[in-house]
């Protein structure tokens, strides 16, 4: 499996304060990789930097061999990296269909086929397709955000805390769908606080604390790691 996305010595700062420092990470094509860590560890900052929404103070981000740090975030979408933020950032007064349609902006011609794919994946969205996005439940909005992201045929999906605010039932459901996406070859980078789900689903994982990579390894290794168990899995 070839290296698709990587970050070298990534440093991101807000003003003078470095929020992410010296982060090295790699994602190979077809892999699912998790970034876990406590609140405020810098997961969202790291993801936003990869997606081009924040500037790097130091280091670089490479995608398919070329550097992408410094590119504008809407350009990076066209290259095939789609970021789905925890806040979802939907268009509240537009319908589910319209939201999805706009997700296909960068490959508008193929939207019919992509729409079918997404609605098959998320039958709930198909039921609610004419409903305004602002009136959907939390779980449905999350699905819509992911669905919208998928509309542009991404090669890499950056999912930021997709389980936030979701009922356990919904969480299981979306992770089922993530599994299907992975089987279809999508590369997934996932930031999560729901560690059991994240480690159960992904191949490899990084533990981010205070802006630095604290631990890394295969997800199975980390599941067995005593520190991870204590800190994130609630086992004494």
């Amino acid at each position: 499996m070839s290296l698709l996305l990587s970050g070298e010595a990534v440093e991101v700062a807000y003003g003078d304060i470095a929020v992410v420092r010296g982060v090295n990470l790699e994602v190979r094509e077809g892999e699912a990789v998790a970034v876990i860590g406590p609140n405020g560890a810098g997961k969202t900052t790291l993801f936003k930097a990869i997606a081009g929404m924040l500037a790097l103070r130091d280091g670089s981000v490479r995608y398919a061999g070329a550097r992408i740090d410094g590119r504008r975030h809407f350009e990076i979408v066209r290259q095939g990296i789609v970021y789905v933020p925890a806040e979802r950032e939907l268009f509240p007064q537009m319908s589910v269909l319209e939201n999805l349609e706009l997700g296909a902006y960068s490959c508008y011609g193929a939207r019919a086929e992509r729409l079918k794919f997404v609605l098959d994946l998320f039958p709930r969205l198909h039921e609610r397709r004419r409903q305004l996005a602002g009136t959907l439940s939390g779980g449905e909005q999350q699905m819509l955000a992911i669905g919208r992201g998928l509309m542009s045929r991404p090669r890499v999906l950056l999912l930021d805390e997709p389980s936030t605010g979701l009922a356990p039932f919904f969480v299981s459901e979306i992770y089922r769908q993530f599994g299907q996406l992975k089987r279809e070859g999508l590369t997934i980078l996932l930031a999560e606080q729901q560690v059991p789900h994240a480690l159960g689903f992904t191949d490899r994982a990084y533990v981010l604390e205070n802006g630095r990579i604290h631990l890394s390894g295969t997800s199975n290794e980390l599941l067995g790691n005593a520190e991870v168990q204590r800190a994130y899995l609630g086992m004494a």
């Binding site: 350009e75 066209r78 789609v82 950032e89 268009f91 509240p92 706009l102 902006y105 542009s152």
Partner: protein, 285 residues
């Protein structure tokens, strides 16, 4: 009574036409354009100059609207660039001050160069009968123009991809970026569109009565009031607010007099901001 109502609706449509540009630029670009009235006046003056050169009136109006559009384009590509680099409140503030400066520049220039130029468009038949009511042809034409303009605008926003992109940016600029949309180009389009609506409003004023270089600030003020009451981010709200305020204005002027009417409108505007800042009539963008 009916005559006053009709008059009010037509006036209201003109108000909406004036105000929608402000709503579009604020909702999309996050900038309050205080030079809006001046852009409208430029449209009217260009039209008047063209007519003076013997150009066909309809073509002259088109030139006027285009002229406003060009001014809007220049403004967006030069003056507003520093504002777009900022975000949120900083952008609002810089945009407000820069457009304020522009309003002065345009005012000053027009005042000195064309102090006596005014646009007055007379129609061949000043009025006609609609049932029992005598209708000013000008009013009918204005209503048609305004309705056509709004019709086209709504069709654009609701039905075309570009229109949906515009709405998406207005509803969530971050979200639009996540879809691969580059807001900058769309912003320029909207600024030009809004400038042309302003130019149209200026030309329409020439139909109603007359448009002179000194009307710039008054236009901006009225546009601002209507946009605020209707909802600075909502195009629907602006249309409804304009028509309603036009009706209120017509009736109040008739019964109570111009000053008091204006005061009522102003107090309503202030009250709206204090009670419901998103606008009294803001619903789907």
């Amino acid at each position: 009574m009916f005559a006053i109502l009709l008059d009010g609706i037509v006036q209201g449509l003109q108000l909406s036409l004036m105000a929608v540009g402000i709503t579009l630029i604020f909702g999309l670009g996050g900038v309050l354009n205080l030079a809006h009235g001046q852009i409208a006046v430029v449209g009217g003056i260009v039209t008047a100059l063209c007519i003076g050169e013997g150009l066909n009136p309809v073509l002259a109006c088109a030139m006027g609207v285009l002229g406003s559009g060009v001014l809007g384009l220049l403004m967006d590509r030069t003056l507003l660039v520093p504002a777009y680099r900022l975000a949120g409140e900083e952008r609002l503030l810089l945009g407000l001050l820069v457009t304020l400066g522009l309003s002065f520049v345009v005012n000053g220039f027009l005042d000195v160069r064309y102090p006596t130029v005014a646009l007055t468009l007379r129609l061949p038949t000043p009025s006609f009968a609609l049932g029992e009511v005598t209708v000013r042809t000008a009013s009918a034409v204005v209503a048609l123009i305004a309705l056509a303009a709004f019709g086209l605008l709504f069709a654009f926003l609701k039905l075309t991809l570009l229109g949906k992109v515009v709405r998406s940016i207005m509803q969530n600029e971050v979200g639009a970026g996540l879809c691969g949309i580059n807001p900058a180009r769309i912003r320029t389009l909207i600024v030009v569109l809004s400038a042309m609506m302003a130019g149209l409003a200026g030309v329409v004023q020439g139909l109603f009565s007359s448009l002179g270089t000194e009307l710039g600030n008054e236009f901006t003020s009225f546009a601002l009031i209507v946009a605020v009451i209707g909802g600075v981010r909502s195009v629907n709200g602006t249309l409804v607010a304009g028509i309603l305020l036009g009706i209120v204005n017509a009736f109040a002027s008739f019964y109570v007099g111009a000053y008091l009417t204006l005061l009522i409108l102003l107090v309503t505007a202030a009250g709206t901001i204090l009670v419901r800042p998103q606008g009294l009539f803001a619903f789907r963008t």
